[in-house]
Amino acid sequence: MCAACIDDDTVNQGFALRLLLALTVLAAVSFLVSLGSGSIDLAYSTVFQHLFSSEPGFEQQIIQELRLPRSLAAFVTGALLALAGVIMQVLLRNPLADPYILGISGGAAVAALAVILLGLGGAWIANAAFIGAMSSILIVFGLSHGFGFGFGTGTGVESGQWSTTRLLLTGVVLSAGWGALINILLTTSSNDNIHSMLFWLMGDLSQSSAGILEFLILAAGLLLSLYFARALNALAQGELLASALGIQVNRLKLLLYFSASLLTATAVTIAGSVGFVGLIIPHMLRLAGARDHRILLPSAALLGGSFLLLADSAARTVIAPRQLPVGVLTALIGVPVFLFILRRSQRINTSPGDRN
């Protein structure tokens, strides 16, 4: 090995650039696929031609008015969920954590389903979901305040591991409670409503659109978490260590909790509880070598967005003209891909060549 054993390769700037470039290209391709696919297949050249044209026409209308809002919604939802997943996994230092683990989607679901049960639709469902998610966030915060999060001078970290466990337990138990309420709503509602309720629960983009606000929330979440990227690296190795390295752990945890929650609430408001993205996208990237949060955070946003774009394209085409809820496709595509990567990384990690 070289005399200076910590060189650019250790921090892997070349790898970071290549990865981000590849993911940007993937995102662009995913957009094209998403805009081109549906009950009417459009060639990519047609998509290009009509995407920015102001000349009214059938294709232009399909692309600009029907597909583009949905594609943007898919991308931003996937990006929000993957980003929230990265943050949640560090906050709880638990690889099984996903954006929904603390009950945010449960709260949103109860509110959204209640609104569907009342026969309201569209914006009502979205608003109710957001209010439900925010209530759940505040309930978990309120209950875990004092052990999960301490305000004050930075002492109190000594009970860190336990506090995280308490926060996790509070969230998981609240989730179970929401689950019971969801089942009550499902079993007591009429057959007409069941269909839209199930679609909401599985995550569905057919009614979705995303505007500038959602992208601003994504950008704010990404920039904020990037600012703390190094602190996240340290926190991932433990609260005591992070504190000993000069990080105000309690303040950081509070910030992470609220930013991940807001990102998740936004995603759930757009598309219901799309599963799996927030859990596997961070892990896929970590397995691919993006462990440093300076790389992991932007990569997760790009890959999460692309993944949901592709899953949604499949959801619209697999049994066209009928549509599947996108949440079904995220699992159907995600499970085999993830298992493949996991198996491959296991082989690489145990091969003798990696030992030095």
Binding site: A4, T10, G154, R230, D354
Partner: protein
């Protein structure tokens, strides 16, 4: 040698739940010197070290670090001044050895994005000092216990504080590295006007490397003084509730064994 007190404790009392660990403890640690903390399991060695970096709140009393009370330092300034080796090595999420050691520079970072050349040089030097040059790209999870301990020590060297707090530094280390690593820290505190404070079960290491010793007796009481004055057969028997024999090799160095 500069005679600034890097650390001073005034009437410090610590307790966990209702158990009093030390009461009315006063001592000071000068630049270039080292303090050994000895005592049986559960007498408060780790808690005392944690109190010095605000990871445990004292019951009463005052801690001064350099020229200011402990509570007046910002979290980041504190991490530049005092660095701690934890007893339990952490490997919550996958990380490479090089990345972890470089993390020791965290409190010194001026940019929130780039690692400076200085940071990388400090990390390289720390790895070299601990004989871990070839391990920079290895995953932490593939290392043995002793190798991980050396990585943790390298990370602390890389942090380069003025007060080194070592909790069981010899844990998992082979006998050569037990001596070698403490020699490195001893050299470091002499060269940089730093100070060292280590909690250990190894009386011989304390006798060899520490100028002063704090012997915790478990009932809140403690013995504190120059190493040779504290480490006597009588005191150790009292502290450990076990007969301990002191053997001298004639060159002035003492060795301790259970009788």
């Amino acid at each position: 040698m500069r005679r600034d007190a890097i650390l001073s404790l005034q009437s410090l009392s610590l307790q966990i739940a209702d158990k009093r660990l030390c009461s009315q403890l006063s001592l000071s640690l000068q630049a270039g010197t080292s303090l050994g903390i000895l005592g049986r399991n559960g007498t408060g060695k780790t808690t005392l070290l944690h109190a010095l970096v605000r990871l445990h709140k004292p019951h009463s009393g005052h801690i001064r670090l350099a020229d200011k009370p402990l509570e007046q330092w910002s979290q980041r300034e504190l991490a530049c001044l005092a660095g701690i080796l934890f007893q339990h090595n952490l490997d919550a999420m996958p990380i490479s050895v090089g990345e972890l050691v470089l993390m020791g520079r965290h409190p010194h970072h001026t940019s929130f994005w780039n690692d400076s050349t200085e940071d990388k040089e400090a990390a390289s030097a720390a790895l070299t000092a601990m004989g871990m040059n070839d391990f920079a790209r290895r995953q932490l999870s593939t290392l043995s216990g002793g190798e991980r301990q050396r990585v943790a020590l390298a990370m602390l060297l890389c942090q380069n504080p003025r007060l080194y707090l070592l909790d069981e530094p010899s844990n998992h280390l082979d006998i050569a590295f037990q001596i070698r690593s403490l020699e490195i820290f001893q050299q470091k505190i002499r060269d940089n006007g730093a100070a060292l404070c280590m909690a250990t079960h190894d009386i011989n290491l304390a006798a060899r490397f520490c100028d002063t010793v704090l012997l915790l007796l478990g009932d809140g009481h403690s013995l504190y003084g120059q190493t040779e004055q504290v480490l006597t057969e009588t005191n150790l028997a009292k502290a450990y509730d076990c007969e301990i024999r002191k053997v001298s090799d004639g060159s002035g160095r003492n060795y301790f064994f259970p009788a």
